[in-house]
């Protein structure tokens, strides 16, 4: 196997990104320190919007950590060589994204110093507690999978390890969806559609991240992607974006069928101000329609336009999660059906929430942690996807 060296400009870009991410991660830590010392009063969150922007970042990364493994699964479980060549990078990205997401989630706790309590005391009925086990399990199983990929003596274990990762990530994303699906109190959640919707979202968002990371890595090493492989991956992204759209439609249409859910649907789809704008503009147009055009429109679908599509899919992901998490809490709890309620505690009123600077800093800091881990990983290990000619032919 020939060693691939980075160009000088590529090296400069590498260290530039490394320093930039390190700086952002430090700013994120500073924000977490501020939130811990002064309290969450410095955030935009309150007693109605209890989960805010940090949760949008954290859940995006955790869901994507699962989806990014799809590339590895197709390689190791279904034996496709084109994808197998990408499995190490997918595994690394998964670990980095999960670590970044959990960093944000942990540092947003009211008592992050008690994280050891969360790690050692489990309430068996809590989906959160199940997820703590699922996250730990993903670290272990992906770590083991990477080991089988890097150590030739462990090669016989690659397929079983790949299968374990394949099953585990579906269970993990189901668990993430269940965090909301089990919330019977709120109009936005308590739906069996949520776990499959989260799985579909993970596939689209994970692949979008993978494509961007692969593109950056290839540019760093001054390499080009084989057109056949590019075509296959971009079509896959398009299919995943369609799948998410289908499940988002199913979620809202089933809601709209129930009279008791209609006020909530009117809020999200028509009257919700920022929430409505993010749903239609952020998720609908920028995050779904535009990427599909960039991928499938004749004359487009080039590496550049697919890169733009992947970026837009991520933008749409943040919009959709913001609508889902913040919008779902903004809509007032229906405690007194048939009555108009008001109180000093926001009963009957749409919740107000404006993310504060520390929240942005914490969320972006989490992304920076994931980027740092990836940068270190690709430097230390040989994770660059290398395609041999036969694989490129297979992909045609």
């Amino acid at each position: 196997m020939t060693a691939v060296t980075a160009t000088r400009s590529g090296e400069r870009a590498y260290y530039g990104w490394f320093l930039f991410c390190a700086l952002l991660a430090l700013v994120g830590l500073w924000a977490a320190h501020q939130m811990e010392s002064q309290g969450h009063v410095i955030t935009g969150m309150n007693n109605q919007i209890v989960w805010g922007l940090p949760h949008v970042f954290a859940i995006f990364m955790i869901v994507s950590a699962s989806g990014v493994l799809n590339v590895a699964s197709v390689g190791s479980v279904f034996g496709r060589a084109v994808y197998k060549a990408r499995a190490p990078l997918a595994g690394l990205l998964s670990l980095a994204l999960l670590a970044g997401g959990l960093t944000v989630l942990m540092l947003d706790l009211g008592r992050p110093d008690r994280v050891i309590v969360a790690a050692t005391v489990y309430n068996a009925t809590s989906v959160f507690a199940w997820n703590v086990l699922l996250y730990t399990g993903l670290f272990v199983s992906v770590g083991f999978y990477l080991w089988t990929l890097m150590d030739r003596t462990m090669a016989a274990w690659t397929q079983p390890a790949g299968l374990l990762v394949f099953v585990w990530r579906f269970v993990l994303t189901t668990g993430t969806g269940l965090i909301f699906a089990f919330l019977v109190a709120r109009q936005a959640y308590a739906s069996a559609v949520l776990p499959p919707m989260f799985i579909a979202m993970s596939l689209a968002w994970g692949l979008a991240i993978f494509l961007l990371a692969q593109s950056a890595l290839l540019r760093w090493k001054a390499m080009a992607l084989h057109p056949g492989i590019h075509r296959r991956l971009k079509n896959l992204l398009g299919i995943f974006v369609f799948t998410v759209l289908y499940l988002v439609l199913a979620y809202h249409l089933t809601n709209a069928y129930f009279a008791r859910q209609m006020p909530f649907e009117r809020f999200v789809l028509r009257d919700g101000g920022v929430i409505t704008a993010l749903f239609w503009g952020g998720y609908g147009v920028l995050g779904t329609v535009l990427p599909l055009l960039l991928i499938f429109l004749p004359g487009l679908g080039t590496p550049r336009s697919v890169g733009a599509a992947a970026l837009l899919v991520i933008l749409g992901a943040f919009s959709l999660l913001y609508v889902f998490i913040v919008g779902g809490q903004s809509y007032p709890l229906q405690i007194f059906p048939g009555y108009v309620a008001h109180s000093t505690f926001g009963d009957g009123a749409v919740g107000e929430y404006v993310p504060s600077l520390p929240e942005w800093a914490l969320g972006v800091g989490g992304v920076a942690v994931a980027c740092l881990m990836t940068l270190v990983g690709v430097r230390v290990f040989n994770f660059l996807p290398r395609d041999v000619p036969e694989q490129a032919v297979e992909s045609n």
Binding site: G110, R114, A129
Partner: protein, 245 residues
């Protein structure tokens, strides 16, 4: 001839009988049952389930004595922003169509199947044997999942450092808290501060007592009047019931 003196023993017995009769009748006359003081070290018993019946027809929309009493009892700050804790709040309702107005106090409903307890990852949210739902402040990590799960918006997150520790219940920044049903008072054989304040104001809109005792005033009243459990569709069996809505 002088009248024979009543022997002291007989006098004691008759006075004792009168006192026993008064105690037996009293719960029917009073708007609450006295809780039996529990000796320290004795665990809460499932033979008891504490609950409340709130008569909204007796609740004055201009009165917030229950809220003030709770704040004083637990040293809670005056609520100014949505980040400030409110363990009990007054909710003003207007019926759609008829325009009928209702005022009521809203607090933790002390559900028999509390979603907050189900979802808490560390078991910090728990339910005592006597039905009181509490938060273990030493175990709460401040994830706020219980707040997401509560259908009654009954819980508050402590968003700022706590400076006033004069309240009866320990409080701490970064943890979740809610109505304790004045567990410290109940364990002493007293009634919750809000119930006492409401009675003091002459409204007597809150009846507190043991739901497991069929002869308690609250059980008898629940049998005789129409009452509603909020979000009854969720089947959480709240310990708090409302009349007049």
């Amino acid at each position: 001839m002088t009248a024979p003196a009543v022997p002291p023993r007989r006098q004691f017995l008759s006075q004792g009988a009168a006192l026993t009769a008064a105690l037996a009748i009293a719960p029917g006359l009073l708007l609450y049952d006295f809780a039996r003081a529990r000796p320290p070290g004795e665990p809460a018993s499932s033979a008891v389930r504490w609950g409340m019946l709130i008569d909204t027809t007796q609740c004055d929309s201009g009165c917030s004595a229950c809220v003030t009493a709770c704040r004083k009892e637990n040293a809670l700050p005056e609520p100014v922003r949505l980040t400030d804790p409110q363990w009990i709040r007054k909710v003003e309702l207007e019926q759609e169509g008829s325009g009928r107005k209702v005022s009521l106090p809203m607090m933790c409903q002390h559900c028999a199947d509390p979603p907050c307890v189900d979802v808490c990852p560390t078991g910090a949210s728990f339910k005592r044997a006597d039905g009181i739902v509490l938060v273990d402040k030493h175990r709460c990590i401040g994830c706020r999942y219980c707040m997401m799960a509560c259908p009654y918006k009954a819980r508050s997150f402590v968003h700022e450092p706590v400076t006033d520790h004069s309240g009866a219940t320990p409080r701490g920044q970064g943890t979740v808290e809610s109505c304790t049903l004045c567990v410290h008072r109940v364990d002493r054989g007293e009634i919750p501060a809000c119930v006492e304040a409401c009675a003091r104001e002459g409204h007597q809109a809150i009846l507190f007592g043991n739901l497991n005792d069929p002869d308690s005033a609250i059980s008898r009243r629940l049998r005789s009047v129409a009452s509603t459990r909020l979000r009854a569709d969720l089947n959480l069996d709240p310990g708090v019931a409302y009349e007049g809505i």
